[in-house]
Symmetry: C2
Subunit: 446 residues, 2 copies
C-alpha cells in the first residue's frame, strides 16, 4: 500500500486495518504472543504497587459492571477502567517492551484495552492477536513519523502514540468499518497527551493509563457515530504540527502490510534504562573472569556514548535514580551478580556495600561506541586490568530474549509480586492464544 | 502575590487556590452566577442533540452509581461521566461564554465537573462558587501565558487549558491542601489535549468533555496521593514548551487575587462565531432603518478585519458553516430579523430565500476596523446606500448582556430543547446559589 493519495493518512490506516485478517498477520503472531507474555509479566509484577492500588481506589466508584480483570489481582472493573489500570501496572517500572526506533513501550497501551474489551465481550484469542498487532503497527508508525524530535521536545511518546494504537486495535476488535476505524484514529488525535517533565512522578501513569482508556473510548464513540477530521494526524492544524512535528508521511504509510513494527519489539531482562543493559552484561562477563577477586577491585571505568553518560552518570538518591544509574548497575552486576527487580529496590539501593561500591565507578565518553553498547574496564589492586565490551546487550534485537527467558522473567515477576494468579496457566494460555475461542471464559479463569 | 520565586508555577497556583475563601471571591460571585446561568442555558439547549445522546449511550455502561444529573435530561451518571457529557452539551454549539483574550470558553470544562461533584457529595452552593471562580482563574491565566500562538498552532485552547481549571476547581472543592492542588494541576498537564483540526467534527466534543472529566480525575488522583512534577507547566520538558509555547510566567502568576479573569467573561446573544456578532448587530440596525424595503436590496458589503474575512468569507454547505459565515449571518439578521438557534439550523440554512440572499453579500477588508467590529453597507435598487458601523457588539465587554438578557437566552434555549427541566427553578437557584446549603438536594430536585 502506498502513502496518502489525497484521502488523508487516517483513511489509509483505516482501510489497511479494516482489510487485514488473521491470514495477513499470522506470521507475526509469535512475536505478538511474546509481547503479551512480557506484558503479563510486568503487569502482574507491579499489580500490588501503591501507585496501582491508589489508581484502583480512585476508579472503584466510577466503574460500570465489572467485566474485566485487574491483572494480577482479584478485583474487576469495567473495560475502560481496567484498561487504564492494566496499562499503568504493565508500564510502571519501564520494565516492559521497547520499540527502539521511537522508544515507545508499545504493548501496555494497546494490550490493556484489547484484553479488557475481549474479556468483556467474549472475543476470540485470534481476534485479540489481530487487533493487537494492527494496533502496535499504527502506534509505532505514527511514532516513526515524528521520532526522535517528538520525545526530545517533551512528549512522552508511549502515551501520545499509544492512544492511536489503542484506538485502532479496539476499533478493529469491535469490527468497525474502514471509515469507523479512521474516525477512531482521528478521535485519538484529540486525546493524545503526556509530557516528559512528569515522567519521574505518578503523573506518568496517568498519561499511559489514559492512552489505553481513551483509545478504547475513541473506538466506542466511533461505533456510536462520532467522527473526526480526515486529516486529524497530518492536517495544518492537526496532531503532528500542533505537537511541533513535520510528519514524515512516508514513514507513516509506506509499505503497510509488508513490514511489521511488532517484529522490531524487544524485551528487557533488567528493570533498568535500556542503555544500561550493555553495561550490566559486560559486568556479568567480568564477574565470571574475576573468580571471587571482587575485594581487589580498585576502580571501574565505564565507557560509552554521550547518551549513556547523559542518562546515567548521576548521583543515586532513591530507587528511581538507581534504574538510570551507571554506578548502581555496575555495583549490582559485579557485586551481586544479578540485576532484577529486588536489586533496584530501595533496600538494595541503600545497602552499605552497594553504596560504597558505587563510589568506585566512573564514566568516560567514547565516541566510537554506539548508543546501546558499552565497554567496562576493571583495575585490580595488583595493577591488572580486565576489560569487556558489549555491542549488543541481552534483550536487544541482535540478542533477543528467548521464549524461555521471557517465561523465566514472568515467573520471577509473579514470585516477587505475591500474586495469587498462576504463572503456568498464563504462560499456557498466551502460547495457545490463537486457539482460545472465548477470551471472556479464559480471563475469568485467571 | 508575585510570580514563581523558585518553587514552580504549580506551587504558586496551589498556594493561592488553597488559601482563597468566600470572603476573597464574593465580589466575583455575581459574574460567576451569570456564567453558570449561561452554562445551564447552552447545556440544556443542546441536551437532546444527537452528539450528546451518542456520548450518553457510549458512557451508560461505564458509570458507577448515578449520583450526578445529565443537565436537561432525566438520566444520571457518576460524576466523571456526567462531567464529560455536560461539558459537551454546554459547549456543543459554541454558544457558551468567551474569555476574549484567549478565546477560551471558560465555563463548560470547569462548571460541569464542579456541579457533578457537588451534587455527588453534597457540597454547598458557596463551595461551588469558590471552586468555580478559582478554576476559571487558573484556566484563563494558563491560557494567557500561551495565547495567542497556542491556538494558532492548532491547540483547542478551551480543551487544553480547561483541564487545568477543572483540576484546580475540583481539588479546591474536595478540600485538598496547597500541595494536593499543585499535584492536581500537574496531573492535568499530562492530560491536556485537543486539536483545532478536529473542531468541525464531533472529535471537538471529546476534547472538551475530557477536559472536564480528566480535571476531576486529576483531583481525585491527587486526593489518593498521586503527585506530579513541580514544573509540569513551565519546565524544560513541560506542558508549555512541549506544546510549542514559551510560557509568560508574568501573565500566569502576577497579581493573583488582585485581578480576576471571570470579570472578563462574555456571553453570546447569537449562536455564531464571536467575530460575526458586530455584523449581526449592524444588520439589525439597518433592518430598522430599511422599513420593509428588503426586496429593494441589491448588494450588501461587509467590511472588517482580516480575522473576520479569514473566518467568515466562505461557502455555506451545512449548519456548521453557517455559524461561521458572514453571508449567512447577514441573511438571517436582515431578512428574518433574528439570529437565534433556529436561524442556524439546517432548515433555515437551506431555505431558498436565505440561500438566494446570501449571494447578495460580499466581504471587504478594512484594516481600520478592530477584530470584533464591522461595517455593513447596503445598496438599494434606487442607488441609495445605507451604512452602519458597530464597534462593540452586543455581548462584548463594552456592551454586555444584562442579567435579564441571559435569563431570556436561557428561556429560549429551554423552549427549543423540549426539556422537562423548569427554567424558572434553575434561574432562581442560580441567583441564590450562595444560599444553597446542599447541592445534592438542589440538583436532585431539577
Amino acid at each position: 500500500m502506498r502513502q496518502d493519495d489525497g484521502q488523508g493518512a487516517g483513511a489509509v490506516l483505516g482501510d489497511f486495518v479494516a482489510a487485514a485478517s488473521w491470514a495477513d498477520i499470522a506470521g507475526q503472531s509469535h512475536e505478538a504472543k511474546r509481547s503479551i507474555l512480557n506484558f503479563f509479566a510486568t503487569a502482574v509484577g507491579s499489580a500490588h504497587d501503591p501507585a496501582v492500588t491508589s489508581a484502583l481506589r480512585t476508579l472503584a466508584g466510577f466503574s460500570g459492571a465489572p467485566t474485566s480483570s485487574i491483572i494480577g489481582r482479584p478485583e474487576r472493573l469495567d473495560a475502560l477502567a481496567a484498561a487504564f489500570i492494566n496499562a499503568v501496572s504493565a508500564n510502571l517500572l519501564d520494565f516492559d517492551d521497547t520499540h527502539l526506533e521511537t522508544i515507545i513501550h508499545p504493548t501496555a497501551p494497546v494490550a490493556a484495552p484489547v484484553l479488557a474489551l475481549a474479556q468483556a465481550r467474549g472475543f476470540s484469542g485470534r481476534d485479540v492477536l489481530v487487533a493487537f498487532i494492527l494496533g502496535v503497527e499504527v502506534e509505532c508508525r505514527i511514532g516513526n513519523a515524528v521520532a526522535p524530535a517528538h520525545y526530545a521536545r517533551g512528549w512522552h511518546v508511549t502515551s501520545t502514540c499509544g492512544v492511536f494504537g489503542a484506538a485502532a486495535a479496539c476499533a478493529k476488535l469491535i469490527g468497525l468499518s474502514a471509515d469507523g476505524i479512521k474516525n477512531a484514529i482521528g478521535l485519538a488525535a484529540s486525546q493524545s497527551a503526556g509530557i516528559v517533565e512528569n515522567l519521574p512522578t505518578a503523573a506518568k501513569n496517568v498519561s499511559v493509563g489514559n492512552a489505553a482508556r481513551n483509545g478504547l473510548f475513541a473506538a466506542l464513540l466511533a461505533a456510536e457515530g462520532y467522527s473526526a477530521s480526515a486529516r486529524a494526524i497530518e492536517g495544518p492544524l492537526g496532531w503532528a504540527r500542533a505537537m511541533g512535528d513535520e510528519p514524515d508521511l512516508g514513514r507513516l504509510l509506506d509499505g503497510l502490510g509488508q513490514s511489521w513494527e511488532i517484529a522490531k519489539n524487544t524485551y528487557k531482562p533488567y528493570p533498568a534504562g535500556i542503555v544500561f543493559h550493555a553495561v550490566i552484561d559486560a559486568c556479568f562477563k567480568l564477574r565470571a573472569r574475576l573468580d571471587r577477586r571482587l575485594d581487589q577491585i580498585v576502580l571501574i571505568t565505564v565507557c560509552g556514548s554521550a547518551l549513556l553518560l547523559a542518562r546515567g552518570d548521576r548521583p543515586v538518591r532513591n530507587d528511581r535514580d538507581a534504574r538510570v544509574s551507571i554506578h548502581h548497575c555496575v555495583a549490582c552486576a559485579l557485586l551481586l551478580g544479578v540485576a532484577g527487580v529486588p536489586e533496584f529496590s530501595a533496600a538494595t539501593v541503600f545497602q552499605p556495600d552497594i553504596v560504597a561500591f558505587r563510589q568506585k565507578v566512573s564514566a568516560e565518553f567514547d565516541g566510537s561506541l554506539p548508543d546501546c553498547a558499552a565497554r567496562v574496564n576493571i583495575k585490580l589492586a595488583s595493577g591488572e586490568i580486565l576489560g569487556e565490551t558489549v555491542m549488543a546487550a541481552k534483550g536487544s534485537l541482535a540478542d533477543p530474549l528467548s521464549d524461555l527467558d521471557i517465561e523465566r522473567k514472568l515467573h520471577e515477576c509473579f514470585r516477587l509480586s505475591g500474586t495469587a494468579w498462576d504463572a503456568d496457566v498464563i504462560i499456557g494460555d498466551v502460547w495457545r492464544l490463537d486457539k482460545i475461542t472465548d477470551m471472556s471464559h479464559a480471563m475469568n479463569q485467571l
